[in-house]
């Protein structure tokens, strides 16, 4: 932690205070086992929790997608009912966006960003744990519908009013699924906003000495932009969801047609969140790719300032294009034209990124390792998704494409070919750092090629389905529409893709247990996360807080080994003279507070208000405990031989 706090905080003090504390304010000390995970405040452990949960939901969303593709393999299929199909496409989208891609990005933010800026942890470690447990609460609330009579939410991930009103959502069954959807998204929003505020404060305040903003790794930049997008866009959907909740629970009329409500208002509120959300999904991916391409080309990112700036421009313009999701709502000529042009404008900074990635490859020594294969695949697929995006920006053409399979093809190219490819690249790239083992090149490349082929076989034909008039979100289609063969091909592709994903994860699991051990900087990488003393990194990340002298700080360290060694020795001595490395204490209260939110959310969705209040009370207890358990913290001491002493509850006078 920051050295500033150590002055006002003497170890002896902490010890005497700790001994007078009631049991519920005693900080947990377990470093392994279940308790250590439930109470962790370590950004790396939280990152892993995010990652594992996200991958679990990625598989759930994938299974939902496969069921959809089986139903559409042949015309007039009876594999699943219309109702179940509607639940599947609603939950497939909601799961993939909120429970797979966003948390997987959050996993990398958590794990890598503090390492990339040379920090010990994030700015608010307990808040970081809280964000994760709230995320889990939201995920449970969203998915619990599968196990109720009402079924899972079936209003589409966009939940257009008035289909979500009491009158129309699941008109013929006791409806709790839409309330669960509202509450689940609301809770996930809390998690995202909390996490993002934490990342912003961390990046602004906790950079290592010398790490100026224009020396930040691009992934950290994209983390910052994404976090800002989240805190600026989520309020819109929060408001929309509160209004919808009021309509459903207390009879207000924001979107109720009979009460003079405006269904179109929902669309504006939803998409002013929903479009930045698209960039929330893709900017982290761009950041990962911007780390991998230079590493495996062995040269710096081409046009670093322009890549960073274009990320900012994308984020900024991303707030001014929401109505391109509404070209068919009859906005009028002027609004349509304005949003059409704004959408075209956003293609410029996006194109700039692609040019710079190509520029990075140019003149490099390209090592086609698996992460690089995924990163190159990303550029190709993202380019295609980008071009179909430009086609949508022309509003008159979009009038035919909107809500057709052409759109489905477009955003899967961006979200799978873009986001998922980059995230898979990232997992591969950082696997040796996180687990100290390296994934087999043969199996890695095999999984890449199977995924690449499967993905294109699935989604390329969908362009033609859309242009041939097939609308989205339809459980059945007739066999005389010219859609049969393309749909069958897409379904076959989906299974090839599934096999590829299966190989990918099988290899990852195998490598985790049995893979070749890899110590340290296996890729000859460029950024600080690879300068950790051991792989996996110790809890305190760095024995010595690095001092940054250039962009690609670790590359600089490697090329200036002598000076850096001397500097590190000096910094180490200084840290020790200030009392050692200050570490945050673990806590139960993030979990308790999140459990209160889960219980309250579930009861509220069920319109059982005493239960909701009980949940609120638990939440309040959690918050109070959190506030009064004290700041905690302990010190670690690094010795000349590399050994570490000190820790929570240990005798601080030992050194």
């Amino acid at each position: 932690m920051a050295t500033a706090t150590t002055a006002a905080y003497s170890p002896a003090d902490a010890k005497s205070r700790a001994s007078h504390r009631p049991w519920f304010f005693t900080r947990p000390v377990a470093k392994t086992g279940l308790v250590s995970w439930l109470t962790t405040v370590d950004h790396k452990k939280i990152g892993l929790l995010y990652g594992i949960t996200a991958l679990f939901f990625f598989l759930v969303g994938g299974i939902e997608a496969l069921l959809i593709r089986v139903q559409l393999a042949v015309p007039n299929n009876t594999f699943i009912s219309h109702q179940f199909y509607n639940e599947l496409f609603t939950m497939h989208a909601t799961t993939m966006i909120f429970l797979a891609v966003m948390p997987l990005s959050a996993a990398f933010f958590n794990y890598m960003m503090p390492l990339q800026i040379g920090a010990r942890d994030v700015a608010f470690p307990r808040l970081n744990g809280f964000a994760f447990w709230v995320f889990i609460a939201g995920a449970i609330v969203l998915n619990v519908g599968w196990f109720t009579a009402a079924g899972a939410p079936d209003v589409g991930w966009f939940g257009y009013a008035p289909l979500t009103s009491n009158a129309y959502s699941q008109q013929f069954a006791g409806d709790v699924s839409t309330d669960l959807w509202i509450m689940g998204l609301q809770i996930l929003g809390v998690s995202s906003v909390i996490g993002s505020l934490n990342f912003i404060v961390t990046i602004i305040n906790m950079r290592a000495p010398g790490l100026t903003m224009m020396r930040l790794p691009v992934f950290t930049w994209m983390t910052l932009f994404t976090a800002f997008l989240i805190i600026l866009s989520f309020p819109a959907i929060t408001i929309a969801l509160v209004e919808l909740m009021m309509d459903r629970s207390f009879g207000t009329g924001f979107f109720e047609v009979a009460k003079g409500g405006m269904p179109i208002l929902w669309q504006h509120l939803f998409w002013i969140f929903g479009h930045p959300e698209v960039y929330i999904l893709i900017l982290p991916a761009m950041g990962i790719v911007s780390e991998i391409l230079p590493t495996f080309s062995r040269k710096p990112l081409f046009g670093y300032p322009i890549v960073v700036f274009s990320g900012a421009v994308i984020g900024f313009l991303g707030f001014g294009v929401w109505s391109h999701h509404m070209f068919t709502t009859g906005m009028g000529t002027m609004a349509t034209a304005a949003f059409s042009l704004a959408t075209m404008a956003i293609a410029v900074p996006t194109g700039v990124k692609i040019f710079n990635w190509v520029g990075t490859l140019w003149g490099g020594h390209i090592m086609t390792r698996t992460p690089m294969m995924f990163a190159l695949g990303f550029i190709w697929m993202f380019m295609m998704g980008g071009f179909s995006g430009v086609m949508h920006s022309a509003a008159p053409a979009d009038a035919q494409q909107q809500d057709s399979y052409f759109v489905v093809a477009h955003f899967h190219y961006v979200l799978i070919g873009g986001s998922i490819f980059a995230l898979l690249a990232g997992i591969h790239f950082w696997f040796p750092l996180i687990f100290g083992r390296i994934v087999s090149e043969f199996w890695g490349k095999l999984s890449f090629w199977v995924i690449f082929v499967g993905f294109n076989v699935t989604f390329f034909p969908m362009h033609f389905l859309g242009l041939n008039g097939m609308p989205r979100r339809t459980a059945v289609y007739d066999g005389n529409m010219g859609w049969n063969s393309a749909n069958l091909v897409a379904t076959i592709g989906a299974f090839i893709l599934a096999i590829g994903i299966g190989i990918y994860f099988a290899v990852m699991i195998y490598t985790y247990f049995k893979g070749k051990k890899a110590a340290g900087d296996v890729w000859d990488a460029r950024t600080l996360e690879w300068s950790v003393p051991t792989t996996p990194p110790p809890e305190h990340n760095f024995h010595v807080t690095p001092t940054v002298h250039a962009r690609d700080a670790f590359w600089y360290e490697k090329t200036h080994a002598k000076e850096i060694a001397a500097e590190k020795a000096k910094t180490a001595a200084e840290t020790e003279s200030h009392g050692g490395i200050h570490m945050p204490s673990q806590s139960w209260f993030p979990l308790v507070t999140a459990v209160g939110m889960l219980i309250g959310g579930l009861f509220f969705a069920h319109h059982y208000f005493p239960g909701a209040i009980a949940g609120g009370v638990i939440l309040l207890i959690g918050v109070l405990g959190w506030a009064f358990e004290g700041p905690g913290g302990y010190h670690l001491h690094i010795h000349k031989d590399g050994s570490v002493t000190g820790g929570e509850g240990q005798d601080e006078s030992a050194h």
Binding site: Q83, P263, I264, G330, S340, L341, M384, L467, R473
Partner: protein
């Protein structure tokens, strides 16, 4: 630089050609809802804009992809030795290249923007000079069917002409369509005539389109609108001016009444009445071969019409409470919650453009509506009117009991009656 353009281009062209083969062989772009097979000026204008976007993005793609592929191949470290070779120059970029590429991107987007803007204004409403000539209709979306209203065709004593699920329009003339909805959001889409525009509650949208020639067009709801969204379809039939006038004249008439004969004919089942699996298709190749001819046939009474069965069906239509939701002008039906059936027999489809209006399909729809269109209002009721089944008002769940019972014999009579309504 050892990069040579010609072989790369040749390779790219071959690759493109190979990629396009299935599109033509398997007809991936030529279905009844193809946005390429345009039949009117609105769809044409939208397709033209689409082509501009395709050519511009294709051109950029070819260039960028070529450079990307070239860079990947050229600078790839082939041997382990290469990887341990001295690091390449650590260049950080070139601002002039960047600015040049940004300028080029903007120029490319301007090429797209100009026709886009033109088409936004053109497709939004009937062009000024044709406005006097435009024909006006109102399309209303409901879960899960379409109602079409003709404000310029007033019928004495019963207001404007109303039909359901098949929109008949004059060809060669702009048609301005008011878009309304009575429940949730729907979207009106006839791909060959024009892109979609949504029907949104508390919002009076409109669109225009024109069929250059008489023809028969497929359309469907393009905004997710609940359980049976997938089977909310419709058709548009464009007729030459005088055919259209004749059609309007007939539609304005009250329902056709068939007098029972003095000597009843023998009754026999002329079609298969067995229950088909849900989602079973309702189209035939014969119909698709010439849908316009099929439509014309539907305008005339069936040759084997059984007048006694028609009379029986008419009685049943009242007895089974169909009349509380369906209107049959001049007969007993007076309801307004469901499609107007005054000239139902002249429509080519049943269940909102889903099944061809054969006796077999109509029988299936009447007997097992929930197999055809799950959650449909004839089955579950609408606006306080009970449907085929009873719903518990407290839990909103089916009670398991039937409000309307129907057997094969009764259904056959209803089919005969409904088909007589030409």
């Amino acid at each position: 630089m050892r990069f040579s353009l010609v072989p790369t281009l040749r390779r790219a062209t071959t690759l493109l050609a190979v990629a396009l083969i299935p599109l033509f062989t398997a007809g991936w772009l030529s279905g009844p809802q193809s946005t390429f097979d345009v039949k009117g000026p609105v769809a044409k204008s939208q397709l033209d804009v689409f082509y501009v976007t395709v050519w511009v993005t294709m051109a950029i793609f070819v260039v960028v992809a070529a450079v990307l592929a070239y860079a990947t191949i050229k600078f790839k470290a082939r041997k382990t030795d290469d990887e341990h070779a001295p690091v390449p120059p650590q260049g950080h970029g070139n601002p002039l290249v960047e600015l040049g590429l940004i300028a080029a991107s903007i120029a490319a987007l301007v090429i797209i923007a100009v026709p886009t803007l033109k088409a936004i204004w053109y497709t939004y409403d009937v062009p000024e000079e044709q406005r006097a000539n435009a024909y006006e209709v109102t399309a209303r979306g409901l879960q899960w069917w379409f109602q079409f209203e003709y404000p310029s065709e007033q019928i004495d004593g019963s207001g404007q002409l109303i039909t359901g699920n098949e929109l008949v329009i004059p060809a060669g003339r702009p048609v301005r369509i008011n878009l309304r909805t009575s429940d949730v959001i729907h979207s009106f889409w006839v791909p060959k005539l024009g892109g979609k525009v949504d029907m949104i509650p508390n919002r009076g949208n409109h669109m225009w389109l024109q069929a250059d020639e008489p023809g028969y067009f497929w359309g469907q709801c393009a905004e997710y609108c609940g359980e049976s969204h997938a089977v909310m379809r419709f058709r548009v039939i464009a007729l030459a001016e005088d055919d259209f006038a004749a059609w309007v004249e007939n539609q304005k008439k009250s329902a056709r009444t068939v007098q029972p004969s003095a000597s009843p004919k023998a009754e026999f089942a002329s079609y298969d009445m067995t229950r088909k699996p849900r989602n079973a298709p309702g189209y035939t190749a014969d119909f698709d071969a010439d849908p316009m001819a099929a439509w014309v046939n539907f305008q005339f009474p069936d040759k084997d019409e059984n007048a006694d069965l028609v009379a029986k069906g008419r009685a049943l239509f009242k007895e089974k409470n169909c009349i509380t939701c369906h209107s049959v002008r001049g007969h007993e039906g007076v309801g307004v919650n469901a499609p107007d059936l005054t000239h139902f027999g002249s429509r080519t489809t049943v269940a909102a453009g889903l099944l061809e209006n054969s006796k077999e399909n109509l029988h299936r729809w009447l007997m097992y509506p929930n197999d055809v269109k799950p959650g449909n209002k004839m089955w579950v009721g609408v606006n306080g009117m009970a449907g085929y089944i009873d719903i518990d008002p407290a839990t909103k769940r089916p009670t398991g009991t039937r409000h309307i019972e129907l057997n094969d014999t009764e259904s056959r009579a209803l089919v005969e009656y409904l088909h007589s309504l030409k």
